[in-house]
Symmetry: C2
Subunit: 487 residues, 2 copies
């Protein structure tokens, strides 16, 4: 079987938006809530509070998003849900009324598409919420409910709210707020397939799948792919799998996963011993221990061999998400760590994904703090913002950064150098994570060109050619990275 | 102000359907549930069980309904709800998936309209359910919820499920399953108005309003009427008010109410001392004590003076509903009581409403028993069925039965005689509730014709004319009624 993944993803720079926290609309709109007492936008987020961000707010910020260089948005869940993160789905067919409902989403989707910005939604299909209609009926009617077999009921009565009694049904991760679907029931399976189809027909460009590894029903994700791709062969299917994902990346299921196997080593390399362990140690990825360049190279090369190349090109590479602390906070506030990691992100094969706010230096510890309101312009870190804009622009300018081969050229001490090569286009990327200037000398006979023009950064570039042998000497200032192209 | 009510209602014979119990579709349909373990159709209903009736089932029975002479259907609630009666609304915009969802309803609505059958839905706008999204958010997030002011929260935490703690919010009739809306909140008011508008735009022909007297917000029902009628001036608005309803029948709110003020005396007169008190005594209408003809006449004449005539013509007259025991059971199984009451119903001004199954002699004590599955044809009482068919046909044949004046001619002992008069069309109706033959002699100088043709029943009709004076002598067999027209 030849693996096929959507071309547009290979060229995408995603922006991950947590809808309650990105922007509250300013223009008059038809709203259910006129005078809601939102949680203060600037205050530290709470587990239960809403800040009132909405889809119209995002619509009003599309200029900003486009100007940043974004051409795809991944939204954490937008369906009706009684939780600010909306992972507790109450209705899979309704966009949350606080966000503006289905009409606002349609408007946003059309506006995004008019700008050639793709839109991917978060599909939470392993479990629903205890308010979800079908589970609610089980709660209200017990064994009389015709929906009993849609969940994993173990005994009666079920107790979704009273922790003094056993829940008597399977909740995700033991959480009784999240009743797990019985995917082995063909009715449930069909129900979920139709949700997926509905929104693809509605116009979305793909699904990010929440905890898909929990669904073990044979053929489930294969059918999901077939049915989604039958409607839109270009729809992107990306799973939330934190570790080795070969099982799902055989070409019959997902086009990619959230690439925490990239995030971990990249943070471990760029932030090194700056990493604040309490922000990462309980999580399913490993931005630790600190890595030297050789170790980083080894991990990256192993990662690049793990999946077929066609899959590599549609991985969703990221440094942070709503499920992690923000990079700046993980690195103890060290901006250079962020810059270097971002450089590595935007020069890596696969789609890059920027977690909203990271591009303006928003800090945030593990959730709920990592889900702060997007800062007022006065509070942006302009330098971080410009870095992002610049690196995204470079990625868009050079196809080799998206689909070119990845060749490690040098990995010693704190200095890591690699090339991205697509036909005659060749770029060299160098990252020095050390606090001292680093000099690397590389024999680059295999390259066809002699990149010598600094596209980004402040490295010194020297080429020496002797017969067949061509040597590149890069002198990279401390805690900095450079991209070098052909002048 | 001139009171205006919808003309079609004046000519309507309604059929009240409890959707879970009328018919389960037999044809293949796209269903969420393929293998549901429904409660046995023939078994006594339970409080929590579903029998799986659906809207397609009703669609498949439209021939039957039309053949019976029905030209309007009032559905008890059809919106998504975790209760078999569906008064606990979970979503006002979704027809319950068990019933077939919005697509099935659209199909049924179109098919009904194609047969000139109107469709009225049940609107439960005083309260929602504890699974209703906006309340669910309050439950999940407590004071953090932006929807707090949509309900009548009194303290924290709310306890919708654990009866050991105070509910801490107002539930209808003290029922914590039914959180009452805060109608004084303009957001809530607007939300409800838009639901009403949505379904009228969708194509329904009116709203039956559940416990509308509970909503005391000034102007609420006036606005409701204005907004509904702005979309469809012919939409019917009928309130569930059991007693004196003058407050709502001033022409600015409802077109009529469920006319339990008709049902009570009519049952008290026709069933008399057969009435089984435990089936009626705890209810809000009074089919007792037994009435003689003169007492019945007095109550009917008082009722006919209570509201403007234009309202009388659009009252929803009924003998039973999902909220009462069935007539046959109230009368201890006496079929003649049912026949006589039905005759009085179908000769009364205002729309007649038949509670599904009553037309085939389905018995049923107060709920849940009054909500049995519609019987298999083999179990129909053919005589009762023919009586209904015949009386409905007569009503349709004679406009005076719908919009003619109502004149009591005779009311003595067990014999009650009245005329319905519309211009030159005159009918005489006689009901003898006694167990002996009854003879009545009436001077009917005021009539223009001399009705002498038996349209229904077995009375003997004799006219004697002496000069200006015209006398009618009716001899009515025991426990029978007759309708007499011009031969």
């Amino acid at each position: 079987m030849e693996i096929q993944t959507p071309d547009w993803v290979k060229h995408a720079v995603f922006y991950q938006i947590f809808p309650d926290r990105f922007a509250r609309s300013k223009q008059p709109r038809k709203r259910l809530l006129q005078n809601a007492a939102w949680e203060d936008w600037e205050a530290m987020p709470t587990l239960q509070g809403y800040k009132g961000g909405d889809l119209w707010g995002i619509l009003e910020q599309l200029d900003y998003i486009q100007d940043l260089g974004i051409n795809a948005i991944y939204f954490t869940p937008i369906f009706q849900s009684a939780s600010n993160h909306r992972y507790h789905t109450h209705d899979y067919y309704q966009v949350d009324p606080m966000l503006g409902g289905n009409p606002a989403f349609k408007e946003l989707l059309d506006a995004a598409h008019a700008r050639n910005i793709k839109v991917v939604l978060d599909g939470v299909f392993n479990h629903s919420s205890r308010g979800f209609f079908f589970f609610h009926d089980v709660l209200e009617n017990g064994p009389h409910s015709p929906w009993v077999d849609w969940f994993k009921i173990e005994d009666w009565p079920v107790s979704p709210y009273n922790g003094e009694f056993p829940a008597n049904y399977v909740g995700w991760d033991g959480n009784r707020a999240l009743p797990v679907f019985n995917h082995d029931n063909p009715e449930v399976r069909e129900y979920i397939m139709e949700i997926a189809e509905y929104w693809v027909k509605f116009g979305i460009d793909g699904w990010r799948l929440d905890v898909p590894f929990e669904i073990k029903t044979p053929g489930f994700w294969q059918e999901f792919r077939q049915r989604v791709k039958a409607i839109n062969p270009d729809a992107y299917i990306v799973g939330e799998v934190w570790g080795d994902s070969r099982q799902w990346l055989d070409g019959t299921q997902f086009d990619g996963v959230m690439n925490y196997l990239f995030a971990g080593p990249t943070i471990g390399f760029t932030a090194g011993d700056r990493v604040v362990m309490e922000q990462v140690q309980s999580r399913d990825y490993k931005p630790y221990p600190p890595l030297f360049a050789a170790e980083y190279a080894e991990k990256i090369e192993r990662l690049l061999k793990l999946y077929p190349w066609e899959i590599q090109l549609t991985q969703l590479n990221l440094l942070a998400s709503h499920d992690t602390a923000r990079l700046l906070t993980i690195a103890g506030g060290d901006k250079a760590s962020g810059e270097l990691a971002t450089l590595l992100l935007l020069t890596f094969p696969g789609a890059s994904s920027i977690y909203y706010g990271d591009e303006v230096g928003l800090p945030g510890a593990i959730d709920p703090d990592s889900r702060r309101g997007f800062p007022l312009e006065a509070n942006w870190d302009r330098e971080i913002f410009q870095t992002h804009r610049e690196l995204i622009a470079i990625r868009h300018a050079y196809p080799c950064l998206r689909t070119g081969d990845y060749k490690v050229l040098y990995a010693q001490g704190a200095l890591y150098i690699f090339a991205r090569v697509l036909a005659t286009e060749e770029l060299i990327v160098a990252v020095n994570v050390g606090t001292a200037e680093a000099k690397g000398n590389v024999d680059i006979t295999s390259l066809n060109t002699q990149p010598n023009k600094l596209l980004y950064g402040a490295a010194e570039v020297e080429w020496s050619v002797e017969g067949e042998s061509r040597n590149l000497t890069l002198t990279v200032p401390p805690r900095s990275g450079s991209i070098i192209g052909v002048g």
